[in-house]
């Protein structure tokens, strides 16, 4: 059973803000995505590329499984000690010249960041790619306060310029191919003051060079930056950002003020613990031995980098997730996206079908817990339970186990809320009642042989009514045999 906690009620991420909830049930969103051959080709190609690279990089590490075990245990130990570690982090960051803020939810985090930016007098910020800030809808909140938020990560820039939604944890624009990206740049950049050459090709290096030109002046003039954090070290107050393009370094180094928004689960206890995660993350994520740039900073360094530092610690449904003894391991996620890249469902539907900033297998177990499972009711079912995600996860989150648990919670919550059981619940209860006794089961088996009468003429069953029609739309049903196994056994051996 899910542990029921006496004391504090579980508070989920609020509705109406940010990007955590499905807009429509997964099957409906997936159907549209499946009908888009360009999207499917883009995602298939990209995930195929990254899958092979990741495998090569993982196979090269002799102690990969030992690192996974350490990473998994470190995360579990961190969760168990979270209150003391958060307090320690706060002490360390404060002692080294930073200011720590606590946000119960997305609204509060947005208010804190907005007022911090306003206090500097700036009307724009540069942003390092951050899932947490997309989760809380920070850009929209800043915009509402008249503050422009410029995404500087190439993929986030593509999403922002395309007025699009991110669809992948690592590469938010994975659903776009080079030709589409060129079109977005051509259409949007001139209006923002960046000249786009008439003969712009769709070669990735050329597109990356254009993004450099587009953002260079912003980096050199920005007074405020907003970032997320990959890790925070409780022992020292150190924050870390893992990136590739150098846009992160630009944001973390050049502005006067740096505001970091971080989920409370991103802690590690000690500096030494990063030796595990800095090995697991790059190989799992981009399939590289090491990502081009990792920056760590501990408070303010006089004469080097931002002189005003803020850290916003975000709950937004995380403490509620932590209350579930099975589900809490979703908080161990280090956002590498390996589970997305190996997922046969994600590969075919893409990330938008999941509705949340966290798509794919990890999204299917994290989003419903942050929001409460009733607000993302279709996500736990968006998996065939094939287990590829569990094998790929660098911190060994047993995603299939979590999916099964969340399905149970969803079914049980529905049963409590609705006096009339669903058709499915009735069918399941009937099946369970039948199978709990062998006599009933044998009777049911005999009844099922009615199917043979239907099939007699053609040797195939006709198309069937809903819900079995969902099966027969693309597959034949097996025709029940003359004799069950148990009848044969009774006849031959009985």
């Amino acid at each position: 059973m899910t542990t029921v906690h006496l004391g504090m009620p579980l508070v989920r991420a609020p509705r109406g803000v940010g990007m955590l909830r499905e807009q429509e049930p997964f099957p409906a969103a997936a159907r549209r995505a499946l009908a888009d051959p360009q999207l499917r080709a883009n995602i298939r190609r990209a995930t195929g590329t990254i899958r092979d690279k990741r495998q090569r990089m993982v196979d090269e590490v002799p102690d990969w499984e030992q690192l996974r075990d350490a990473g998994s245990a470190l995360k579990a130990a961190t969760m168990a000690r979270l209150p003391e570690l958060l307090v320690q982090l706060e002490e360390q960051v404060t002692a080294r010249g930073g200011t720590v803020h606590w946000a119960r939810d997305a609204h509060e985090a947005n208010r804190i960041v907005t007022s911090l930016v306003q206090a500097t007098g700036a009307d724009e910020v540069v942003k390092v790619k951050s899932m947490a800030t997309v989760e809380i809808g920070l850009n929209q909140a800043l915009e509402a306060a008249g503050i422009a938020a410029w995404e500087t990560d190439l993929a986030e820039l593509i999403v922002q310029l395309g007025r699009d939604r991110p669809s992948h944890i690592l590469v938010p624009a994975i659903h776009r191919n080079r030709a589409e990206i060129r079109e977005i740049f051509r259409r949007e950049m001139p209006g923002l003051g960046t000249e786009v050459p008439a003969d712009l090709s769709d070669v990735p290096a050329e597109l990356a060079a254009l993004s450099r030109r587009h953002l260079r002046a912003k980096f050199l003039s920005a007074r405020v930056a907003v970032s997320g954090a990959n890790f925070a070290v409780a022992e020292t107050g150190t924050l870390a950002v893992v990136e590739s393009e150098g846009n992160g370094r630009m944001c973390l180094t050049l502005p006067q003020t740096l505001i970091t928004v971080m989920g409370i689960e991103k802690l590690v206890p000690t500096w030494r613990d990063l030796e595990v995660f800095l090995q697991l993350l790059p190989r799992s994520s981009t399939g590289e031995r090491m990502n081009p740039y990792t920056s760590t900073w501990t408070g303010v360094t006089p004469g080097d980098g931002p002189q005003e530092l803020h850290l916003v610690l975000l709950d937004n449904g995380r403490s509620a997730t932590l209350a579930d003894e099975v589900g809490r391991s979703a908080l161990h996620c280090i956002r590498c996206s390996a589970c997305l890249n190996v997922c046969p469902v994600y590969e075919r539907t893409g990330g938008h079908a999941y509705g949340s900033v966290y798509p794919g297998p990890i999204g299917a177990v994290l989003s419903p817990q942050l929001t409460g499972v009733q607000d993302n009711a279709s996500l736990p079912y968006a998996s065939s339970l094939c287990g590829a995600c569990f094998d790929a996860c660098p911190v060994k989150i047993d995603i299939p186990r979590l999916l099964v648990e969340l399905r149970a919670q969803h079914v049980e919550a529905r049963a409590e809320e609705h006096p009339v059981p669903s058709a499915e619940a009735v069918a399941m209860a009937a099946a369970a009642w039948t199978m709990a006794r062998s006599k009933r089961w044998v009777r049911a088996q005999r009844a099922s042989r009615i199917g043979r009468l239907l099939a007699r003429r053609s040797g195939r069953l006709p198309a069937l009514p809903f819900p079995l029609a969902r099966w027969t739309s693309s597959r034949e049903l097996p025709v029940p045999p003359e004799e069950t196994f148990r009848d044969w056994w009774a006849r031959e051996r009985g």
């Binding site: 499946l34 998996s383 149970a408 062998s438 099966w471 693309s474 045999p481």
Partner: protein
Amino acid sequence: MRIALLVTCLVDTLYPDVGRATVTLLERLGHEVVFPDRQTCCGQMHVNSGYQRDALPLVRHHVEVFEPYDVVVAPSGSCVGSVRHQHAMVARRAGDDRLAARAEAVAGRIYELSELLVDVLGVEDVGAAYPHRVTYHPTCHSLRLLRVGDKLLRLLRHVRGLDLVELPEADQCCGFGGTFALKNADTSTAMLADKMRHVLSTGAEACTAGDSSCLMHIGGGLARLRSGTRTVHLAEILAATEQPA
């Protein structure tokens, strides 16, 4: 050795040949097979669909039926996976720790067919002959839940006359996933289409696997295409003593 057969509800009802082949094979290897006829279903569909409370009586029933036996075999990776990885969980979640302990003990004595043959009985050449071109789909639960590795392949490689052709992207899910195939029919079908494309690309007469449920899915798709390619359970190949035509 005295081996109890968990035939699985699917094989019992729809694929009795797979159960018969399992019996034939084990008897040919000199073992005694018993069929506890009170068995019904392991409850996997209920658990994986969120109906863990409904699955509880099925778990209890399974434990009661199979407790007396030292060795149990099932021709299904996913049912063995359910018994091994879910039964105690279902009991514990319902607050029945005693049942959980019993379920764990029973689960410790159940083997998927290839596990039984290779690990327990120590045999890879079962004396089978099956002169056909076959491709092998490793099912997700045998591969990633039971970790059977290449046991099924090793068994197949000893089959006389068998022309085993490698399946491209073999370890990709076929898209069945139990009720997933109904709840997410479109995605399931897209996954199945790719699996069938790979099966047909091998030019095999038949696709084999250790799970009737996945074969029902793949076979249902192949039949719809009128492709002429069959599905055949591993047990049926290992039981066969077909002479080349």
